[in-house]
Symmetry: C2
């Protein structure tokens, strides 16, 4: 059975009330979403215009003008609408819904007779549409449109946007597909694959599933469509002189023959997510096995300790196994988000906690590092080592920003963060008719029918700062089902109590399955010991040899100049160091910091203008080291930051 074992609980059934995530969700709702709407409408002073909504206006004939912005500018509106939809599910807001309805009206007005909807080609000449699937993002915009439309339909029950998306899918289906009169193409930037499966879940129309499957199966088949397309239309091939070639697009060979994650990292994980969806719905074991190999390659050979992926700025791409530079890194926020998407599907299909482990790793580290604590600024690039002077003066590090930026011309990451954070409840809690899965430890109230009876779970926790989780079960009548709790990979020692009594239940795939008859008033108490862990990397990773990274629970820590001075590379963490932890309420919106014994190579032995000395033994100064959660770095001004610290 490849059918999903579990699915997200409805976001309207989850009311998050969590010391960690609730702030982020509120920031997204109250700040990011309104701010992005202003940005999409070019009303942010000092920021470069987005042109996104203006393009729709011009395409709808409501304004005179030309297409402006990136070829994929439309997708920003769709991602925004998706975030709005999730937000409306857990926080109804008629005013916001009205704004969204207006945006949807405008989008629909721009749709062409035959369903086509991409403002770039509507404004630049429809005769050129579908001539550059490789680079012109029509299918990417389609994918995000579907995702936004499905979410908005689920949130509001309104079909207008959904029908608009279906018409565009119909238009694409009439132009692309296996029939001889159609183009044998597929998306240059994947996302439509997973979106079409989700659309199929709503419509039940197998045509939507078939298109997703076609996109996946046709990808990389000989003769290569992209190769033929670019030659036929004289399109530029940006990767002609790179070793990526068509694998930049994961399109150099059939996807079933791809076992290493390659090329543009966001595209890659979006594709794999779509593959997992198709494998599940079509019960395609071979395809799922490929997904597992790709997964194993990523998390076993190409993932940073923060869950970040895509080590090279060039092509925003994967490079080669164990190539994980910390300073010239790319590690795009969107790629970590994409890995969360992939992880959730693999978890849903297999029920294996190792996928949730990575999901958690990404969420608490490489994803939220992308957003400032005030929700106003964003990182695209999430380095594990940062030096202000290098970012300023080293061309190879100039993409590594030391401070988060307000808004970007290419605005993929902020709306992506927004849509993920506003739907995080669905990642935390999943279920089927007989099993309830607690994947992530996020406080709040969840309603779910299990064993035929409506249950209400009230979850209280101070995770990730403390390892205790308390759950109150409310139901109208006793009911039998399994309450499955993930025991995280990082956790060595834990205890489970039900109604205050130690409880022993079978472990399966990393979840403890509390299958029993649950009564109203039952309580569950999970206690996870949460020591500071000194993490070491595989010695095949060149950059991390002799170094350690600290983690506590799911949280990766770092040193910041603000606490430890500059020249962080000269700091050694003592191998025998004890760790003191302290919850600092006033610091960085409230974080647990770690203090450890360290020492620092003395620069006092060195004149500034002496570079090399023979037969020299360093002298060290003792230094107390203070580590803060990685995601919270760069919220106190510019300075050095370091995750992997020398060990001694």
């Amino acid at each position: 059975m490849l059918e999903k074992k579990i699915n997200m609980v409805g976001l309207d059934k989850v009311s998050i009330d969590d010391n960690f995530w609730k702030d982020y969700m509120e920031l997204v709702r109250s700040h990011v979403i309104p701010y992005q709407w202003e940005a999409l409408n070019d009303r942010i002073e000092g920021a470069e215009p987005s042109y996104c909504m203006q393009n729709f206006k011009v395409a709808a004939g409501k304004k005179i003008g030309k297409f402006q912005g990136m070829v994929f500018q439309d997708s920003d509106a769709y991602k925004w609408l998706e975030a709005v939809a999730y937000s409306l599910m857990w926080h109804p807001d008629p005013e916001l819904e009205k704004t969204a309805d207006g945006a949807i009206d405008l989008i629909c007005d721009a749709q062409q007779e035959d369903g086509y909807l991409d403002t770039y080609y509507i404004l630049n000449g429809l005769e050129k549409r579908f001539t550059n699937l490789m680079d012109h993002h029509e299918m990417y915009c389609l994918g995000h449109m579907i995702e936004g439309a499905v979410a908005y339909y689920r949130a509001t029950g309104k079909r207008k946007f959904l029908d608009c998306a279906i018409r565009y899918v119909d238009c694409v289906s009439e132009n692309i597909g296996p029939e001889p009169e159609k183009l044998p193409g597929y998306p240059g930037h994947e996302v439509a694959e997973m979106a079409l499966v989700e659309l199929y879940r709503v419509t039940g129309d197998r045509k939507h599933l078939e298109l997703a499957k076609y996109f996946i199966d046709q990808r990389g088949q000989e003769p290569l469509y992209f190769d033929q397309e670019r030659k036929a239309h004289n399109n530029v091939f940006h990767w002609e002189h790179s070793y990526y070639q068509y694998q930049y697009y994961q399109a150099g060979k059939p996807v079933r023959k791809q076992f290493r994650a390659e090329g543009h990292a966001v595209r890659a994980v979006y594709l794999y997510t779509g593959m997992a969806e198709v494998a599940s719905v079509t019960e395609d074991q071979e395809l799922l096995d490929v997904c597992k190999k790709l997964w194993n390659n990523i998390v076993g050979k190409q993932m940073y300790v923060t869950g970040a992926i895509g080590s090279s700025q060039y092509g925003e791409a994967f490079t080669f196994d164990y190539d994980l530079p910390n300073d010239t890194i790319y590690a795009e926020t969107c790629a970590a988000i994409g890995l969360v998407f992939f992880a959730r599907r693999m978890l849903e299909i297999t029920g294996e906690s190792r996928y949730a482990d990575v999901m958690e790793r990404c969420l608490y580290n490489g994803v939220i590092s992308g957003m400032s604590l005030d929700g106003k600024k964003f990182f695209y690039v999430n380095p594990l080592e940062a030096v202000p002077e290098a970012s300023e003066k080293d061309f190879y590090k100039k993409h590594v920003k030391i401070e988060r930026q307000k808004w970007f011309g290419c605005a993929c990451c902020p709306p992506n963060v927004a849509r993920l954070l506003s739907s995080i409840g669905g990642y935390a809690y999943e279920a089927n008719l007989q099993e309830f899965y607690m994947n992530l430890f996020i406080g709040g109230n969840i309603e779910q029918t299990l064993g035929g009876v409506e249950q209400r779970f009230s979850v209280q926790t101070k995770y990730p700062w403390e390892g205790d989780v308390h759950i109150d079960v409310e139901n109208g009548q006793d009911s039998e089902y399994a309450f499955a709790i993930r025991i995280p990979g990082w956790c060595g020692v834990w205890t489970l109590k039900i109604n205050g009594e130690s409880a022993e239940y079978p472990m399966k795939n990393g979840y403890v399955y509390g299958r029993r008859i649950w009564s109203n008033g039952d309580t569950v108490d999970l206690h996870m010991e949460m020591p500071v862990q000194r993490i070491v990397a595989n010695p095949r990773v060149r950059e991390d040899v002799g170094k350690a990274a600290l983690m506590r629970g799911p949280v990766v820590y770092c040193l910041e100049e603000a606490d430890n001075g500059d020249l962080l590379q000269d700091i050694y963490l003592k191998r025998e160091s004890e760790f003191d932890i302290s919850y600092e309420k006033e610091l960085l919106n409230g974080v647990v910091t770690i203090t450890a014994d360290g020492k620092r190579i003395s620069t006092g032995d060195w004149k500034e203008d002496v570079l090399y000395k023979p037969c020299f033994e360093e002298t060290f100064k003792e230094q107390k080291l203070k580590f803060i959660p990685y995601y919270s770095w760069s919220n106190r001004g510019a300075g050095e930051m370091l995750v992997w610290v020398h060990m001694k």
Copy 2:
């Protein structure tokens, strides 16, 4: 007194007979020079054409065609002629001289009525000449033409090429200079400055010196000439969006206000060499002080342990202090050669051995690493850490070649190596009327008049493999002068004997001054202890913390995969290790190798697809490490290489 204390001995008076350098010189003479002539004439099968000589033919009206190749393609011919000139000084070769005369005839035939001679503009439209001094290398070609012409005149006594160069200088002087009707410009790529001083030494014409001085003093003055020029002629400004700005050309501010080496590394050291020359001839203490500051900045904050400089491929440039990445490095062969040029001038002016120390460091490491042991292949980029897969797949390392290349479209390095190696005798031995300086320990016979009497020194040594140098003095009559021997900075223990007896003479500026009456048959024996030294870098250098590089004498060592296996980053050199040295005659043309005790992190503890483990102590395997001289790496096929090794 800023006049030079010493000058090169005449190359015709030095007959090198040295176990280390003679092979290189012979390679240059018998292989590189003939090969380059073929290359300049596009007769190398499989190599991209140079078009160099063809451009001269077309410009001279002897062939129909257009300009092809780089804007500075002419300079390859001039550098080749310079190398030929040096070679002819110590190895007369009528056939080669005839070929060179033919090349000179052709060059002179291309010269215009008014002396102008740059085939790029002759063939692309003379009306455009002098409209892009910033990037179009007219002055660079002029500089190399002068250098070649002066050398050829000195080697052969023939004036044709010299007169041709003088006419071009006259033409430039009529167009560029301080007078209001002239352009207030200067070279975009420096070299003409030092060349003009050398021309002045031959011609005695102060006009030539004045032009050099003008180029230096005018550089970077407000209003910036390059800024005005590019705006006036709509030239592209490549560095507009880089932090280098006009400092890429060392032209963002007056040279007397520049105290950090900045911008394109070759240009920088060529400029500083010219500044030192002008400071010396014009007795300009202020300018010399600037040179010293720039020197100190380079060797104290921006030089690799191999003497390489210019850490970034972007702009082939200096970046910022202590920024010395070993893997994304640029470290162009030509830049190390330029540093040798600068060093020699500073040495000649000050008599301080610290300049010769750097000269020696460059020559035995970062310069000759640029050429394969068979003289057939060249590196532009000289990494201190190389991994084949990274060079293939990491865009940021693709300029770092693992194997030397046959010939380059931009052919600056090979002819630059050739001209330096064929004149190395002049770097080793310098003199004035009363003092003879042994700067480098290179075997051979040198004739020089000292104290009014012709002397002949016969030097025997196995340097750099052994630290003993024996000198026989021959002269027709007793004569008093100082035989000054440099005691290298790396040398802690040494003894000097004259006629077999321990001799004590005063040290000054790092030279021991054997001032006495020298008789025929006198002998000098210098013994330098040459232990293996573990070199440590200033802890401000991020990349080298916790690591050591081995040196023995002037030679930097490295680990190669061929001897030590791959994953060189996992190797630790033991702090307490003893070093065994062994001269291996058959290895790499004969080298001293170093064996040391090391250990290697075991990958056996790690599954291939596990990236991170908590609280893990590495296990180590003992491993004997074998180090080879850095310059000799990559002569046994592709593989990893590492200079800075972890210490434990």
